[in-house]
């Protein structure tokens, strides 16, 4: 039985989260009225020119640095010429002859340990508009709001071998970019899109097979399915003695199969040449150093530091750093209350539960570090019972609510008034003669039961230490 190996390279398009577009001052906001964030430049009117957004260039250089790439000394933009209604100028401004960054790597975690995936190159380009196919009226509608939004295209080496590795690569990349704040990487909004280059070969063979390209996938699930599906399709062809054609395909999620878009012969001739309207970018070592020094601490670094500095477990550190917002909340809270384990605990257990139950993202967390540390300290100082504190946490995690005020308004403070507690305790003893006699007969376990019931009777607000003392006193 012959075994086959799958060779995968990814091309990842990432929309940069600049305020304005790559070459014009239109907003990049998502979801606005069609063709409302447009101007003569991004709608391709004649006689207007592209003026480059500096922030986009800096974001790109920073990503290049973070991906361990060589940043070029100077580069230009090239025009990729082809016709499509989402492309208003008849060409896309991209970088063909000299991408801004080359030869990098990204370390991913696989089930066999960590693996280095080469980054072939990274370049800057502009996004196209959006097409809506309206079959009722037999027409296609075009919205240019996305036209001209800055993208970086990251091209990996063919170092990936399975869908899991591809998913790990994307996950790692996504985290990195989010940590840097250069993109929100929301796949469902199209701010991260992936092309898959895939070929198969006999295991042990050194030559690459013929590859196909599957265009424009925008969910990890679709990517996983497409890799598995395409890999199987190619292996089946080879097993049947056929040959794989070099072609571009697209993934049909409904049919669960890839479909041919065009063959190599039908491939457009893009007639690239340097854009004469955009002057070259020159990147000094100084500029690179400045951007390098402003890179954030990345997730891997945080995970190690959290274990060392805060003494929390690797697992906890991984969960907390799974979003940059959560990590920041954790760090800032710890700075204020100096109780890292408490902070981690709240976020890990209650925080994660609330995110899951409410199906929200970490960026939607309402609680501030000030409020969380206040709550932790209130528990620590015995001002609120831990069970009541959960209610307070939930409120301020999801809504704009101050824990201190909430506790006050809802009278959740711990009760330490002995006379109040004694009354409650006496009632519990009265209602539970069995337990009392158990205790007197030497069954010490009954004591805890009575304490618990008293606390519960006081709506979890009683100070457990005082309850303990009073029950003991009453029983003896």
């Amino acid at each position: 039985m012959m075994n086959y190996e799958t060779i995968i390279g990814l091309e990842v398009h990432v929309e940069l989260s600049t305020e304005s577009k790559l070459f014009c001052p239109c907003s990049t906001r998502f979801g606005d009225k069609p063709n409302s964030n447009c101007c003569p430049v991004c709608i391709g009117m004649p006689g207007v020119f592209s003026i480059l957004n500096k922030k986009a260039v800096e974001y790109a250089i920073s990503v290049g640095i973070a991906l361990d790439c060589t940043i070029v000394k100077s580069c230009t933009f090239d025009r990729k010429n082809y016709f499509y209604p989402d492309l208003p100028k008849g060409y896309q401004i991209s970088q063909k002859y000299c991408p801004i960054a080359k030869n990098g790597r990204l370390i991913i975690d696989t089930k066999d340990g960590s693996k280095s995936i080469g980054i072939h190159e990274m370049h800057i380009e502009e996004d196209a508009g959006k097409l809506i196919h309206d079959s009722d009226n037999n027409q296609t509608l075009v919205d240019y709001n996305r036209s001209g939004v800055p993208l970086i295209e990251i091209v990996s080496e063919p170092d990936l071998r399975c869908a899991d590795e591809a998913a790990a690569f994307l996950d790692k990349l996504r985290m990195m970019l989010i940590y840097m704040g250069v993109s929100d990487c929301k796949m469902q909004e199209g701010s991260m899109r992936v092309d898959i280059n895939l070929s198969v070969r006999k295991t042990g063979s050194r030559e690459f097979g013929t590859r196909t390209e599957i265009k424009n996938l925008n969910s990890v699930k679709a990517i996983t399915k497409a890799i598995e599906g395409e890999s199987k399709r190619q292996i089946d062809i080879l097993k049947a003695g056929g040959v794989v054609d070099k072609e571009t395909r697209r993934w049909d999620d409904n049919k669960n199969e890839s479909i041919r878009m065009r063959t190599k012969e039908e491939e457009d001739d893009y007639r690239y040449f340097p854009d004469p309207d955009i002057v070259p970018i020159e990147i000094s070592d100084n500029w690179i150093d400045r951007l390098r020094s402003s890179l954030p601490e990345f997730r891997d670094e945080k995970i190690i530091r959290y274990q060392k500095e805060y003494g929390i477990s690797k697992y906890d550190a991984e969960v907390i750093t799974s979003s940059v917002e959560m990590a920041k909340l954790f760090e800032d809270t710890t700075k204020l209350c100096d109780l890292p384990k408490e902070a981690a605990n709240w976020l890990m257990v209650e925080g994660m539960r609330l995110l899951n139950e409410n199906n929200i993202d970490a960026c939607d967390i309402c609680i501030t570090p000030e409020r969380l540390s206040k709550l932790i300290l209130m528990v620590e100082q015995g001002r609120v019972n831990r069970i009541k504190a959960k209610e307070v946490f939930e409120k301020s995690f999801l809504e704009n609510i101050d824990p201190e005020e909430y506790v006050k308004n809802h009278r959740l403070e711990m009760i330490s008034d002995a006379s109040v507690i004694r009354l409650a305790a006496m009632k519990v003893l009265e209602d539970n003669p069995g337990a009392v006699s158990d205790y007197k007969n030497g069954k010490k376990k009954a004591f805890g039961n009575l304490v618990g019931q008293t606390i519960k009777a006081m709506d979890h607000k009683a100070d457990p230490a005082i309850v303990n003392a009073i029950i003991k006193e009453l029983l003896e």
């Binding site: 003569p40 009117m45 004649p46 006689g47 020119f49």
Partner: protein, 488 residues
């Protein structure tokens, strides 16, 4: 009326300043002249009559408020080539493709002229998308040469040259990608200036070839030219290729002195099949300069021999890409009847563009197509480097270079010269100037046996406008402007 429109721009501006004439009077006189002569010459695609009248009142008010004291162009009617965008005014590029296109923005040069108090009087004819040297490819019909209506006014800025020559505008703006200001200026006996690339913003100029295009003035004398040049030059953040100098001052160069000026004449040009009348006029002009104390020298500039080949490749490649946006989707001509997207594209472009445009787009696509990029596009870029360097070296020795502007005077309109070898020769000195981004002017230097004007081209190094102006001014003193005798 004739008294007003025949004045130079500076003269009429001076009279407006001195209150001897109102802006309205000047504009009315101009409109009247246009109405009288347009049926003969066909300079204009759009006459902005109403806007000009409104603007005349506004400009007069600004003058009365003392706002335009320093502006040399306050109240002067100007014509703009119809490939330069004017907000709210049709900008057609003389193409069916853009026959109804109304820009929502002004070109920077238009804004600068209006800020300076110039009055836009209309949009003038050109070859379709500035591709040509005759205006014959215009969708709106050809323009006639005011010196002889059976001859072309030149092109592509033929409307710009004919309008100024026919006194249908005091000055005009043209655009020059490979001689398109200088050649029509020569054919109509005018001053036509192509500034250093990057000194005049291209924002709003509908591009033919981005790395070659430059806007410049056409006028009846060098002083008028300098006034326009000063107004339109200067850095513009909307054009990344624009040079970072806020203002360019040229008027100090209007001095009648060329003593010890070093003038180089590339031999190459005189060896070619130059019209005898042109050779005579050219040699006479050189003699005049020598008499004025300049030092003239013939020299070899063989490195520019392949200018036209490189020019064709670069300009067509850029044009092919620049003209891809006309696809019938967002603006411009859309075919009436099509089946599917591909046919929408093909028919809209096939019907919207004329033959010359199609020819250049196809050549551009050919030189960029896969496998040809290195052997054509990059090779042309290398030749461009060689040409640029050769000029640089020449300007170590000379302040300015002289050449005839063209091998012949304005051809007859019915003559077909599109692909002749002679035409290619004739283009060498024109297009090499654009390839190197240099400033150059054509000034009138005489007439041929048929009475048609002859142009003298003066070229200088990058930012060497002042040397050109100085030479042109001194020569103009010996040969003042002549108006076409045929003019009504």
């Amino acid at each position: 009326m004739k008294e007003i429109t025949a004045m130079s721009a500076m003269k009429v501006a001076d009279k407006i300043k001195k209150r001897e004439l109102s802006v309205q009077e000047v504009v009315e006189a101009q409109l009247k002249a246009i109405k009288l002569r347009e049926p003969i010459y066909n300079c204009y695609i759009t006459i902005t009559e109403d806007k000009a009248r409104e603007d005349a009142i506004k400009v007069q008010r600004r003058i009365d408020n003392g706002e335009l004291k320093d502006s040399p162009l306050a109240g002067v009617p100007v014509a703009i080539k119809d490939n330069i965008c004017t907000e709210g005014v049709k900008t057609t590029c003389a193409s069916k493709m853009l026959a109804d296109y109304v820009p929502s923005y002004n070109a920077t040069v238009v804004k600068r002229l209006e800020d300076a108090g110039a009055v836009l009087i209309g949009k003038v004819n050109l070859d379709e998308f500035a591709m040509g040297g005759t205006t014959k490819t215009s969708y709106f019909g050809e323009t006639k040469n005011p010196w002889n209506i059976y001859h072309t006014p030149g092109g592509s800025s033929g409307g710009s040259s004919a309008a100024v020559s026919a006194e249908e505008a005091f000055v005009s703006l043209g655009s020059d990608t490979g001689g398109s200001i200088r050649q029509p200026a020569a054919y109509c006996g005018l001053v036509g200036f192509k500034p250093t690339y990057g000194t005049v913003s291209r924002y709003g100029l509908i591009p033919l070839a981005s790395s070659l295009d430059q806007i410049g003035p056409l006028s009846r004398n060098i002083s008028d030219c300098v006034s326009v040049l000063e107004v339109i030059s200067g850095h513009d953040p909307m054009d990344a290729t624009s040079v970072k100098q806020e203002r360019f001052i040229y008027r100090q160069a209007l001095i009648d002195d060329v003593k010890n000026m070093r003038i180089g004449v590339p031999k190459l040009y005189l060896e070619e099949d130059l019209d005898e009348d042109i050779r005579c006029c050219f040699m006479e002009a050189i003699k005049t300069f020598e008499e004025m104390g300049a030092k003239v020298e013939l020299f070899d500039l063989d490195e520019i021999r392949y200018s036209v080949q490189a020019y064709y490749i670069i300009s067509c490649a850029e044009a092919c890409s620049n003209l891809a946006r006309y696809d019938g989707v967002r603006y411009g001509y859309r075919a009436g009847d099509y089946e599917g997207l591909d046919e929408l594209y093909k028919k809209s472009r096939g019907e919207g563009f004329g033959y010359e445009v199609k020819r250049r787009i196809m050549l551009g696509a050919y030189v960029l197509s896969s496998g040809n990029y290195e052997s054509y596009y990059n090779k042309a870029g290398r030749i461009r480097s060689i040409i640029s360097k050769a000029y640089e070296e020449a300007f170590n020795r000379y302040d300015v270079l002289f050449s005839p502007e063209s091998l012949s005077t304005a051809p007859q309109l019915n003559e077909d010269s599109s692909l002749s070898k002679r035409k290619h020769h004739s283009e060498i000195l024109n297009v090499s100037v654009n390839l190197a981004g240099l400033p150059a002017v054509s000034i009138p230097c005489g007439r041929d046996k048929n009475g048609l004007p002859i142009g003298l081209q003066i070229i200088s190094k990058k930012f060497g406008e002042r040397s050109i102006i100085q030479a042109a001014y001194a020569f103009e003193k010996t040969k003042p402007y002549e108006r076409p005798q045929a003019l009504l």
